[in-house]
């Protein structure tokens, strides 16, 4: 976290005021050094967003070396129609890991990392870019990777209609159709890998806990989860929550096991 020096802070206050009056600049202004979004190409970016509602706090900030990230993510493959393919190309990963490492180190417990990575994966420069969309965070001492799209073919439609593409990222609460696999990882769901060997060590930097999307909780024990499941069932039986709410919450609790 950059602490803004007082003179700079005053100047920023003034410029933000001018900015607000003259340009209607974003109210969520932050100092430039605190980037939460990294644009690498037109359709390749890494950004920090508030973690999903109801999710456990993440173990952020985390130190994951770019080399370890590259080694682990290079092993991730997905099941395609014509066999298994690496999720990322080697040069694609080489570009991403430095920024991913930076994002995880800058993230707070209330942040997830969203990854959009587009590349011309075949056909050379004349091939249409295809995108990987994923959510990453560190929990349980492991890097969690949830993938929504492995080869999203957005470009032709975007180019033909000029409608901005809408990218959907992986989610803890709803599975995508993606099937991932990688050696030395734990599959929490077909589209969700827990990569323990990525050396997800909490960063030594002191960083205040950022506001989380849900109240912070200690890591769950199985007894606690069982108790919460019973409570949940009781609430449903008394019609205090709907069946959908029951199933949604039940799924979240089971994922904590």
């Amino acid at each position: 976290m950059h602490m803004i020096q007082e003179p700079i802070g005053r100047r920023l206050l003034l410029t933000k005021w001018l900015c607000g009056v003259l340009l209607a600049c974003s109210a969520a202004a932050t100092y430039a050094g605190e980037s939460r979004s990294w644009q690498l190409h037109e359709f390749t970016r890494i950004e920090l967003v508030a973690r999903e509602a109801g999710a456990e706090p993440n173990q952020h900030p985390a130190n994951l070396s770019p080399d370890a990230l590259r080694e682990q993510l290079a092993r991730v493959r997905f099941v395609a129609r014509d066999g298994r393919q690496p999720l990322f190309a080697a040069d694609e990963l080489a570009e991403l890991v430095g920024t991913l490492s930076q994002a995880l180190e800058r993230a707070g417990p209330g942040d997830d990392v969203l990854l959009l990575s587009s590349a011309r994966r075949e056909g050379g420069v004349l091939g249409s870019p295809k995108a990987v969309t994923a959510r990453l965070f560190v929990q349980g001492g492991a890097l969690q990777l949830i993938v929504h799209d492995t080869r999203f073919e957005f470009f032709d439609t975007y180019r033909g209609t000029r409608n901005p593409p809408r990218f959907i990222y992986g989610s803890r609460s709803s599975a995508s159709a993606v099937v991932l696999e990688a050696a030395d990882t734990t599959s929490r769901r077909a589209d969700w890998l827990s990569i323990a060997n990525a050396a997800a060590v909490p960063a030594p930097v002191a960083k205040p806990v950022e506001p989380a999307a849900a109240p912070s909780k200690a890591p769950e024990k199985s007894d606690d989860i069982e108790r919460r499941l019973e409570t949940l069932k009781r609430l449903r039986d008394k019609n205090l929550i709907s069946e959908d709410e029951y199933q949604q919450k039940r799924k979240e609790l089971l994922q904590l096991l």
């Binding site: 340009l23 190409h41 073919e153």
Partner: protein, 425 residues
Amino acid sequence: MSNLARSAVSLAASAVAALTFGLASTSASAVDFDGYFRTGPGLTAKDAARACYNLGISGGHYRLGNECDFYGEFGLAQTGTTEGVAWKAKVMFNEYNGGTDVGTSASSFEQMYVEGKGFDIAPGTNFWIGKRFYGRKDVHILDTFFVRMDGVGAGADQIDIGGAKLGVAYFGSDTGAGFGDAGNGLAKNPGSRFNIDVTDIPLNAGGALRITGTFTQGRFDDPIPVPTPVPNTHVGVGTSGFGLSLQHTQDIAAIGGGNTLWLQYAQGSAGLDGNFGTMTAESSVKKWRLVESLGWQVGELGGQAVALFGQHDQDVINGTAKYTEVSIGGRGSYALTKNFKLVAELGYMQKKPDGSETQKLTKFTFAPTLSAGPGFWSRPELRLYVTTAKWNDAANAASGLGGLTGLGNGKTSGTSFGAQAEIWF
């Protein structure tokens, strides 16, 4: 330096840049390469250039198997984030010949700009300066951008205003993207344009509204009428103008596509598309149009359809009568295999000037097509086509001595054949 020589230099420079920076790579230093081109031979009649069929209304023309020009655009961009600021620098040049693929073409830089987002005083705002395509939204089958604020300017956009995005921009006197001979043939009628563009206004589920305002002012005053525009001279008196465009886009998941509806109004020197219009049109001259466009992809069947109605006031200064315009048509594709599609396009256009007979044109094209994929938007495409068109005498008369096709044979129907490649990347 001749246009040909300039073109060669441009192409060579781009090729060198492409090789130098490794365009196929995704490495951090890689330059993004994008572009579009279409090319291919055509034939209409013995001893004549190939013909294309168009009425010249504001909604463009039905383009499949109906493009007599030569066009390509090639862009290089570098994007990167340094100290929290995401920068992008882009250049793009085009090659264009309005009449034929054969022989020379003119080169022009269509885009050359820098933008940045993440500055400490306004981290959510994107600032840019330069010459660029801006705010474009088109109907592809008509080859027409119904919003197109292109030009040389400066602005700020992506400003968050409670769920929607605001963009403001000033543009100088460029009247467009500089097609043709790099602007040398354009009358030098300087003007100023200010655009306000509010996008992504959430209106309904899957739907968004866009409101684009345009304010123009011609900055020249030469009251001496010049019958034929002379390059590099002022022509007439610059006027003020105002335009308002409402655009609604709607995702329609059930048909794998969406809908776009425009209601557009402009007067004076403002154009309906958010750009400059006729810089000498009196400020009281009004025009409007309603445009509806639908796109779909249901299994093997994909397509795009459009309907347009517009009305334009009489422009005494520039000698045009009041007229109404109509255009309705569509293109459909059916994938027989992953790489082979049958594509057809049917379009009807009409223009009714006050006091004159209605001009009418109907055009149909059939095009067996090889493609990278089965989708309607899959490119590249390699197509063979046959186009047949029928029009009336009024359309011939309105087009001058050469008639609608320019062939000057007095006919009111025609057929063209050809092959064409189209690619974007």
